[in-house]
């Protein structure tokens, strides 16, 4: 699971929607008997706690890709161990995130410079975040199938906790 679900302190400024642990998704995992494995936050160690909100294009540099590839190697190691033990794996990301989005990321090729933009979400587009792309590449290189995915949808307009829970439950319930 994405780092911030267990640690909202890793969020970009103004992005933490609770003190520490975002429990709705954790609760589902616990109820269904799933083991929890936390991934590192790609943005925290790279751009730091004082980073600005950003879209994919602002992070899509060779240096950030190298950073994500390093993290992806560590995460792929974890996944490989679990797959070797015959365990089922599901990837829980953060929808709308430039790095952790699993089906929705953020994009705006013109964004840059002085960080002023209106609230709203015109930057949301279908696609994966940069870390998730690097993880897909790493798992593919090892011949490991990419896990089923679901995501925290707090950043998505119309977010509804019950709908999010239903998606996570359905994803967990599918055959691995």
């Amino acid at each position: 699971m994405a780092h911030c679900m267990l640690n909202q302190n890793s969020k970009v400024g103004d992005g933490a929607h609770c003190a520490g642990i975002y429990s709705p998704i954790i609760d589902v995992l616990r109820e269904k008997g799933w083991r929890i494995e936390q991934m590192p936050c790609p943005e925290l160690a790279f751009a730091g706690l004082n980073r600005f909100w950003a879209v994919r294009e602002q992070y899509d540099t060779a240096a950030f890709r190298r950073h994500c590839a390093r993290l992806a190697t560590a995460v792929a190691d974890m996944i490989a161990v679990r797959v070797d033990k015959g365990e089922d794996v599901v990837l829980l990301g953060v929808e709308g995130s430039p790095s952790m989005g699993v089906t929705i990321t953020s994009s705006d090729p013109s964004r840059g410079g002085r960080p002023e933009w209106p609230d709203g979400s015109p930057e949301l587009v279908s696609g994966e975040g940069i870390f998730v792309e690097e993880l897909r590449r790493e798992l593919n290189s090892r011949g490991i199938g990419f896990p089923r995915v679901a995501g925290d949808t707090h950043a998505i307009p119309g977010h509804h906790e019950a709908a999010q829970r239903a998606v996570v439950e359905a994803t967990l319930a599918k055959e691995g």
């Binding site: 267990l6 003190a19 929890i36």
Partner: protein, 125 residues
Amino acid sequence: MKRDERSFRVALLADRYVNPPAGGVDGIAVAADAGWGVMQLPADDYPAAVAQRLLFEVAEQAEEFTRHGYDLVLVGECDGLADALARVGLGVPDAINPEGPVVLKEFLDARPVPRALRRADGEAG
């Protein structure tokens, strides 16, 4: 936009408190109740090389939190953590090996106000 809700408190949790065995201490439940975020430490069944890579990333993130005045504690034990933290200039934070949830909750609740929060409130720190 609503106020940022972060607690500026992060617990490094050994895996047995994240994925507790039957009868074990549910560190996630306690941390959630106490308003702490969690960084999970590698499970004991990972090969040393895998655990080492994961601890490297944990340490880099811990360094960022510490530099910004977040409170950091260790719950449980993890081989290799001290070395990983030392590589980024950190010592092992205050730690506890709780035998029950009440002890863990008391430990977390008794921590001093994080330096980052004291700064935000205008105190010297």
